[in-house]
């Protein structure tokens, strides 16, 4: 059987989680590989959550926030950006490919954008192969 990755998706309560709900109510279809976690803001996502997810068996982690400038809490998504940049460097030192962790923006009305981000991420991780085998 071909490799099916498991990807944890952190979504903020205001934009990205609602875009995922909209994809659902619009009956769009996307890969079942993603596992959602709702947080209030992408700024709440601690780098340790991502490390924990990768340790516990996830092959990739996606963090989705509001578009720059649209954060419900003013600028939490910018803080997420800074943390993710630092984390990516740390992951590389640990021998984990940067591509396994990704940050992107989706507004509440962009169900189709959510679907394409999720599908793209799944395809990317599928190509990279399982994380556990490498480490």
């Amino acid at each position: 059987m071909s490799f099916e990755p498991v990807i944890i998706v952190f979504m903020c309560n205001w934009c990205s989680y609602r875009s995922a709900d909209l994809a659902g109510t619009s009956r769009m279809k996307y890969t079942p590989n993603v596992r959602p976690i709702r947080v209030k803001c992408s700024g709440r996502v601690e780098p340790t959550f991502i490390v924990k997810a990768l340790q516990a068996g996830a092959d990739g982690v996606l963090v989705l926030g509001c578009h720059p400038g649209d954060c419900h809490y003013t600028d939490g998504n910018y803080k997420a950006t800074r943390r993710m940049a630092l984390l990516a460097r740390m992951l590389e030192q640990l021998g984990i490919e940067r591509e396994r962790v990704s940050l992107d923006w989706v507004s509440a009305s962009e169900g189709n954008r959510f679907v394409s981000i999720v599908n793209d991420m799944t395809a990317r991780i599928r190509k990279l192969g399982p994380l556990a085998k490498k480490s």
Partner: protein, 618 residues
């Protein structure tokens, strides 16, 4: 796990009763519901728990509908995902803590932004109930787009006749503080307690002294295009947009005033008997506090010059619908006579529907009002000139009360209907009949043939668009926009007046294109929602906020420096940072940043999220 139940409609009364009964009978202390999105029914199930005596925060929802069954093709995979989601919810709920709902007093004042029919209607509803309204309008007068319109479909009421009494009422209402020529600059706070900074732009006319005699406007030597007349007429540099303006106090347009441009003139000052002209006037900043906000900022009109082949601004006698409204209005620049640029009366007129709307090059959406006002135009043209009228339509959408009947009536008045999208409006003529006229080239899709119709005037039914600054406004008020750029409502069907920001409501065309009856209905609905908040007198505020453990806090201050609400401050006596619970909105960014892990983000604690991660990765 004590008990697991399966029921088809868990959110229904009997479904909730199942949960309530189990909580009571089995002394449950945690509940997980695997169903639809928590955005939908988390509040419902929280109430269920509370009724049964369980703290409402001891429940967790696994979203196995919107984010699982509805989006997954493979049933097996969907089931696996649902199991993971449920497992995560069970693991998470273990760490849930009971939280107490906090209530604060609700400020009964309301801010309404936009003084068109939506803003006026909402303001009157709230003010009539005895509560204070701040009505902020950007332009010198309230009235919005509706005051520019001639007749209204399908009744053919005169727009100004039905609107001006409402404008006057709003202008004189003891509970409405009208701030025209003003803009909101800053919004802070939250539901129940907003603080708003408003810039009242300098009019250079003292409103207390001005008696509205309009002598200044007569004498002013500087002239420019009138915005109210959609560029079809002129106004002076000191002006009220139209004679029935509310308030009836002129403003000086500094871009066109001779004194502001060249330093001399001040003719208005000399002729003003009331001594009302004040060239030294400055912008004023006013701060107000309100409990709720209604955005009724209206729409903008699509610029048809983008569609080059329709010839707008290149060919004479190609006009937009708003320009035609002024042309046909008896108070307009031609006194209501439908005339061409050379002053002659047109013999035939083409009306092109869906200009910029229902067009994937510009806007996908339907502007909803064009079919109906195009029918209205046909009637007015027939009545005033007897000219031939050709409607170029995609579909006739006459959906409202009395609309289909209006369509039937106009159809019987001898109006031509051509089903097809116009490919070109041109002055390149090919025969004597066309010579010197505009030729409308289109495919008649009912005849399946290309046709050329020579006309004297073309009216473009231009799309309604989001206001130019809709993006900036959405950011200012912290609300979202839908893909088409209009403000996003909380729920498209069940909550079309609220937004994702508590206490902020939308009314009228800022939310989506709509006609006057729908705008008025939405404005009244927004007012009703606010009145219910006011009558409660208090409002629940965010429970899931941050708290700092003083034992662990090292006093580094990282949290305080990144808090978007300045909700964290240093306690000088105890030497640690503390959270102001009234200001914190619970975003959790300080929780993620604290190097000592001294901050807990209630209901989104590190333990809870870690448990969820583990649960998802079974």
């Amino acid at each position: 796990m004590i008990v697991a139940r399966d029921y088809v409609f868990m959110c229904s009364e009997p479904g909730q009763e199942i949960i309530g009964k189990d909580i009571r009978d089995l002394s449950l202390n945690r509940v997980v519901v695997a169903a639809c999105s928590p955005i939908m029914h988390e509040p419902t199930f929280r109430r269920t728990c509370q009724k049964a005596g369980l703290n409402p925060y001891l429940i967790e929802i696994a979203n196995i509908r919107e984010q699982c069954s509805w989006v997954t093709e493979d049933k097996q995979m969907a089931t696996e995902k649902a199991k993971a989601l449920l497992n995560a919810a069970v693991k998470r709920v273990y760490y849930h803590q009971p939280l107490e709902v906090r209530k604060i007093p609700f400020n009964p004042n309301t801010l309404i932004v936009g003084g068109g029919i939506a803003g006026i209607r909402a303001a009157l509803e709230i003010a009539d109930s005895g509560h204070k309204v701040y009505l902020v309008e950007r332009t010198p007068s309230i009235g919005g787009h509706m005051i520019q319109l001639d007749k209204t479909f399908p009744t053919l009421d005169c727009s100004a006749c039905i609107l001006t009494p409402k404008m006057t009422e709003a202008g004189n209402h003891p509970n409405i503080e009208l701030m025209s020529y003003s803009e909101v600059e800053e919004v802070s706070g939250y539901i129940g307690n907003f603080r708003i900074r408003i810039r009242k732009k300098a009019r250079y006319v003292n409103g207390d002294r001005c008696n509205g005699c309009s002598l200044c406007q007569e004498k002013c030597p500087s002239e420019t295009d009138s915005e109210f007349e959609a560029g079809m007429g002129k106004r002076k540099a000191i002006y009220t947009p139209f004679p029935q303006a509310v308030p009836n106090i002129p403003v000086i347009d500094t871009d066109h005033c001779t004194y502001f441009l060249k330093g001399t003139c001040r003719l208005c000052e000399k002729v003003c008997e009331a001594n009302a002209i004040d060239f030294g006037q400055k912008d004023e900043i006013i701060e107000v506090e309100t409990g709720s906000i209604i955005l009724a900022t209206g729409y903008s009109v699509f610029d048809p010059a983008h569609i080059k082949h329709y010839g707008y601004q290149r060919l004479d006698n190609v006009v937009t619908s708003l320009e035609f409204e002024r042309l046909v209005n008896s108070a307009g620049p031609t006194g209501g006579n439908i005339v061409l640029k050379d002053g002659s009366v047109p013999r035939s007129i083409a009306i092109i529907h869906c200009v910029g709307s229902r067009d994937r090059n510009y806007h996908d959406y339907c502007s909803r009002v064009c079919c109906m006002y195009a029918l209205k135009y046909a009637h007015l043209i027939k009545e005033k000139t007897g000219a031939e009228v050709y409607q170029y339509y995609i579909d006739m959408r006459c959906f409202g009360k009395g609309y289909e009947e209006f369509y039937e009536r106009i159809s019987s008045e001898g109006v031509g209907f051509i089903r097809g999208k116009v490919s070109e409006v041109t002055d390149r003529t090919i025969n004597d009949e066309e010579k010197g006229r505009l030729v409308v080239v289109a495919e008649d899709t009912l005849l399946s043939s290309m046709i050329r119709v020579p006309v004297d005037m073309v009216i473009l039914c231009t799309a309604m668009e989001p206001q130019q600054d809709a993006e900036a406004m959405a950011r200012l008020f912290n609300i979202s926009r839908s893909a088409d750029g209009f403000f996003l409502e909380k729920h498209p069907k069940l909550d079309p007046v609220a937004t994702n920001s508590e206490g902020i409501f939308v009314a009228g065309c800022c939310q989506s294109p709509k006609d006057i009856p729908d705008t008025v209905a939405q404005a009244s609905a927004a007012a009703a929602r606010i009145l219910s908040l006011i009558s409660k007198g208090e409002v629940e505020i965010e429970v899931a906020i941050a708290s700092i453990d003083e034992q662990l806090c090292s006093g580094c201050g990282v949290c305080s420096s990144i808090c978007p609400y300045s909700a964290i401050s240093f306690d000088d006596e105890k030497k640690f940072y503390k959270v102001n619970e009234a200001l914190c909105k619970g975003c959790g960014t300080c929780v993620a940043a604290c190097p000592a892990s001294a901050i807990t983000g209630r209901h989104f604690t590190t333990e809870q999220i870690m448990a969820e991660i583990e649960g998802l990765l079974i």
